[in-house]
Symmetry: C2
Subunit: 138 residues, 2 copies
DNA sequence: CCTTGACTCTAACATGATGTCAAGGTCCAT
DNA sequence: ATGGACCTTGACATCATGTTAGAGTCAAGG
């Protein structure tokens, strides 16, 4: 099947299918005489796997590992679970960071009148908070 | 003062200071005869403002607006607050997305034995979930 | 005065994941 | 055989940031 159909069926854009091929995440598919890429069900299945993993926020590097594990029927599920737990931790960190931002901003917004008056704690806080503090947050 | 000191004092890397200058987020500083950039307190203050806004997750475009509001002593605080509230909404969306990922992944991980056996719901789910579903999640 | 080390300059390339556009070839149904 | 839908590669764009390289500058100490 053509790349367009493989894209529709897998949920991976044509652009990204070609990209994954180029970076070696997926094997180069068969080619027709015309040069058109020719995908089979197995290829689409693999692409769908990738799309799902991406939707869970795994990076390409992690997906490469997951694909390897997926294709190795002998691997211990512990390995997979370990990767998943690590990724959950990473997600937790990102969530915590965003929540901290939200809390700070929300607190500032609550202290801002939000009317015609020009004074605003949001701006004055942005203008005055110490750089060292910020560095720590980063 | 030199860019190195301005960087330390503001918490913005030298790379990003030059970048912000190039994209017009900050005005070009004075130059010495040698060509070295020469910053004053006002410049550092502005950079610190930018660093703080970035730490709260504002994009460069949003920061440009905030800087404009900051430098306009007549503006209504309502404008600033509106921007902040919009940004809080954006943060909430990101947080919700990450939390959904986390929940899915956590549920899969809990159903994975995590031992020597090869069967693992994490991989089988990645392999089988429908692409349409994923598209919706995106 | 000269050397040395720390600092600065610009420009370019890299990251990660993705989009878009352009110029050209292919496929198929009418 | 023609038109429209599809495919090919390549290049440029995004966003914020890092890194590196080659070259110039500054200041302090011998």
């Amino acid at each position: 099947m053509n790349i367009g159909l493989a894209s529709t069926r897998s949920g991976v854009s044509q652009r990204m299918i070609r990209h994954y091929e180029r970076i070696g995440l997926v094997p180069p598919p068969a080619r027709r005489d015309s040069g058109y890429r020719d995908y089979d069900e197995r290829d689409v299945h693999r692409l769908r796997f990738i799309a799902n993993a991406r939707d869970l926020g795994f990076s390409v590097a992690e997906i490469a590992t997951l694909l390897g594990l997926w294709e190795d029927r002998e691997r211990a599920s512990a390995e997979v679970k370990h990767l998943a737990l690590e990724h959950i931790e990473a997600l937790d960190e990102k969530i915590a960071k965003l929540q901290a931002m939200r809390a700070t901003l929300n607190e500032l917004a609550e202290r801002c009148h939000g009317d015609e008056r020009p004074d605003c704690p949001i701006l004055s806080e942005l203008a005055n908070a110490a750089p060292s503090t910020d560095a720590e947050l980063r």
